[in-house]
């Protein structure tokens, strides 16, 4: 057992790592959704066959989203270092980290939201229109509730992706399991690295399984199908 392992084990460093990873991931995911959810809604609305087509706006937003998404995260991160320094006064630490994670993942979230909303049956949208629903009502009362299970699945995928990014970002700034693993690599403490990997696997599993359970639970279609299968 390496010195670092014993040290981290006794001072609770591993738990701090798990906590920091979770904290960064969840905070970034929430902020990414605050930006990405409305963006995804706008992408659906302004689409050529959306509720209020604005083709030029849709094209511009689509291009920006694609542009940010084409950057490999590690490169985007390096590019964002001066931006984070200018905006937050620091390019290291958890604040800067979260900023980078949000910039990188919000466009991803927007696409996830867009694809979930597009799964909603066009006929149901038409029915709501026929009842005199405004576009705002259609978004709040049809698109979002009807797409809820799919949105939750999307959120799980986004969160796991952000968690992966957060470990990567440890090469530049921030803490968490990624930072511990990086430190361990410098002193050849393989056992620490392996424990970090194991802990990450556990965290991902919890998010994944918990999210999927929730998605199944809220889906009124799935629940019935399962019951029919049993009978």
């Amino acid at each position: 057992m390496s010195v670092l392992f014993t040290q981290l084990w006794s001072n609770g460093g591993f738990w701090l790592g798990v906590w920091e990873t979770l904290y960064m991931t969840v905070t970034s995911a929430v902020l990414a959704y605050i930006i990405g959810l409305p963006l995804g809604v706008v992408l659906v609305l302004t689409d050529r066959d959306g509720l209020s087509p604005v083709v030029w706006l849709n094209k511009i937003l689509g291009t920006v989203v694609n542009l940010v998404r084409s950057f490999p995260f590690i490169i985007l991160m390096v590019a964002l270092v001066p931006v984070a320094a200018a905006l937050l006064g620091s390019s290291i630490g958890n604040g800067a980290m979260i900023f980078m994670l949000v910039v990188a993942s919000a466009p991803f979230v927007a696409r996830m939201v867009e694809s979930s909303l597009k799964e909603v049956d066009k006929g149901v949208i038409e029915a709501a229109r026929s009842m005199g629903a405004s576009n705002f009502q259609i978004i709040c009362k049809v698109y979002l509730p009807e797409a809820k299970p799919s949105l939750i699945v999307g959120a799980v995928i986004s969160t796991v992706t952000i968690l992966g990014y957060s470990a990567m970002s440890a090469t530049i700034a921030g803490g968490g399991l990624g930072a511990i693993a990086t430190r361990a690599r410098n002193v050849y403490a393989d056992d620490v690295i392996w424990l970090c990997v194991a802990l990450t696997v556990v965290v991902v599993q919890v998010i994944q399984e918990g999210g999927m359970f929730l998605a199944r639970k809220v889906d009124k279609r799935r629940r019935v199908n399962r019951r029919t299968k049993q009978s």
Partner: protein, 327 residues
């Protein structure tokens, strides 16, 4: 009353403009069950969507109760749609809402207070016979039950008009019958004017008072069902109403007469009587007749030898059977 004046709808496509409706003129009187029948792609669905402006006509007027709705503001249009309910072939229920929440949906859009809405929902579910399914989700229902929920939902805001877009086309014959009966009840009890879009003859036959036959984006023929069905004028109407008539008229000797039964006594053996009294050999080329409550409905094509047609028509006139000579 809904009036369509010179209604035209074209869609721009890459290969040029596609005409969906051309110069459509129709009057849908209050209290009617107005059928619009036509083959697939004739423009029926576009027509019905022009009535609540889910599709905007390229030109022409849609006049509902004296007001041209193509000219009203967006806000007024949303209000107007609460007065025009709609049901669909695919039911289009909100899958994540219970039956009662689906029926409540239009009331929520209208910001009706909760307890008031709850009472209305209970009333509607009672009307469509689904009170026991209030807490069920759409995926737990059969097709017929889903359409009942959709009907209840369409009626929630007490509309004056209900549009049915192929509402029974996805249902089996028995279920179709019960849904049609419900639509008829709604028309009678609530005085709702119903517009029924369909490609199925029996739908028009069993519930409609008026019918418009649409063909190639144009109205080929329109009128009371009893008139149009007895004496179809256009080729498309003949083809839809008496599908095998045209074929049965081809070739052969003699005079061909089409007898139209429109509610005469069905216990009278008219063809046998004709053969015996006029001493003529009658040949039946085509027959599609029904006995509904002791009354005869339908068509029959007979041939009589050329020289005898005067005697035969005299007999038919005397017995009150209407007929047309077909060539």
């Amino acid at each position: 009353m809904i009036e369509l004046k010179n209604l035209t709808k074209t869609y721009p496509t890459i290969g040029g403009e596609v005409v969906a409706l051309e110069d459509v003129n129709l009057t849908i009187p209050d209290g009617a069950i107005f059928g619009v029948i036509g083959l697939s792609g004739a423009g029926k669905s576009t027509l019905v969507r022009c009535l609540n402006l889910l599709e905007r006509p390229t030109s022409g007027q849609v006049i509902i109760d004296g007001e041209d709705i193509t000219k009203i503001s967006k806000k007024q249009l949303l209000q107007l749609r609460r007065n025009v309910g709609m049901i669909f072939q695919g039911f289009n229920l909100l899958e994540q809402r219970t039956v009662e929440a689906n029926v409540r949906f239009p009331l929520e859009l209208d910001r009706v207070p909760r307890n008031q809405a709850a009472a209305r929902v209970a009333e509607l579910l009672e009307l469509v016979g689904l009170s026991d399914k209030a807490k069920a989700y759409p995926s737990q229902l059969s097709g017929g039950q889903k359409q009942r929920v959709a009907i209840a939902r369409a009626l929630a805001t007490k509309p004056k008009y209900v549009l049915c877009d192929e509402a029974t086309s996805a249902l089996d014959p028995t279920t179709t019958e019960s849904i049609l009966q419900l639509v008829k009840d709604v028309n009678k009890k609530l005085g709702v004017t119903v517009v029924v879009i369909t490609h199925e003859m029996r739908v028009v036959e069993s519930i409609c008072t008026h019918v418009a036959v649409i063909d190639n984006s144009r109205i080929a023929e329109t009128g009371l069902v009893s008139e149009v069905f007895s004496y179809p004028q256009s080729d498309i109407a003949k083809q839809l109403i008496i599908p095998n008539l045209i074929r049965s008229l081809a070739g052969g000797e003699g005079t061909k007469l089409r007898l139209v039964f429109n509610g005469e006594q069905s216990d009278e053996p008219i063809v046998s009587a004709l053969a015996m009294e006029c001493r003529v050999a009658v040949n039946i080329l085509y027959a599609d007749t029904k006995n509904i409550d002791g009354k005869a409905f339908g068509h029959m094509v007979i041939t009589v030898p050329d020289g005898k047609s005067a005697t035969v028509t005299k007999f038919l006139d005397a017995h009150g059977v209407s007929y047309r000579e077909e060539v």
